[in-house]
Symmetry: C2
Subunit: 107 residues, 2 copies
């Protein structure tokens, strides 16, 4: 999986377990692609401090995934739902396609 996609998924699943401060930094740097210096200035901490927080967040998120494997399960289930959706589409069973769309939105 591409690193950015993986980080986004990990954050999507476990982000709520970080502190508010960690979330703020992680979202700015990793998801919104702000520079370390930019975020450092905004929060009045050092560039190194931001860098360390990101590393710490990555390690916390990876640790949760290591224990719970939710992203792994999710990615696998998502690909199966897509396969079901394609099959239902071929067979013209709209009700199944509609439910698949709902599930994919929730995943």
């Amino acid at each position: 999986m591409e690193k950015f996609v993986e980080q986004t998924l990990l954050y999507d699943f476990y982000g709520e377990l970080l502190t508010e401060r960690q979330r703020q930094v992680y979202e700015s740097v990793v998801l919104d692609d702000c520079s370390l210096s930019e975020v450092a200035e905004e929060l009045s901490i050092s560039r190194q401090g931001v860098h360390d927080m990101i590393r710490r967040c990555n390690s916390i998120l990876a640790e949760y995934e290591n224990k719970l494997h939710l992203v792994e399960r999710f990615v696998d289930i998502r690909s199966k739902i897509r396969r079901i959706s394609a099959l239902a589409d071929d067979a013209g069973i709209r009700e199944i396609t509609a439910i698949c769309t709902e599930v994919l939105e929730e995943l």
Copy 2:
């Protein structure tokens, strides 16, 4: 949701985030239905101690669900997959039914 089912689901999702000792007590009392006294004797702690550990575990598990809502999401997705499976069954599309079975096993 029935309390036992809910506890089982919460434990299934977040149990790995408890300590080994907490897991041991939780599994014995909640999942295997051993008595508090039995577990207390086995671990050489007081009956009250076991009782407190279970309360603490329930509160930790509920806190994770409160933040991550994974049980809620998965219960909803599971019921949708069951509906897809029934529709595919009616339409005789075995490939979809088979994938649904796989997904339900992973959920």
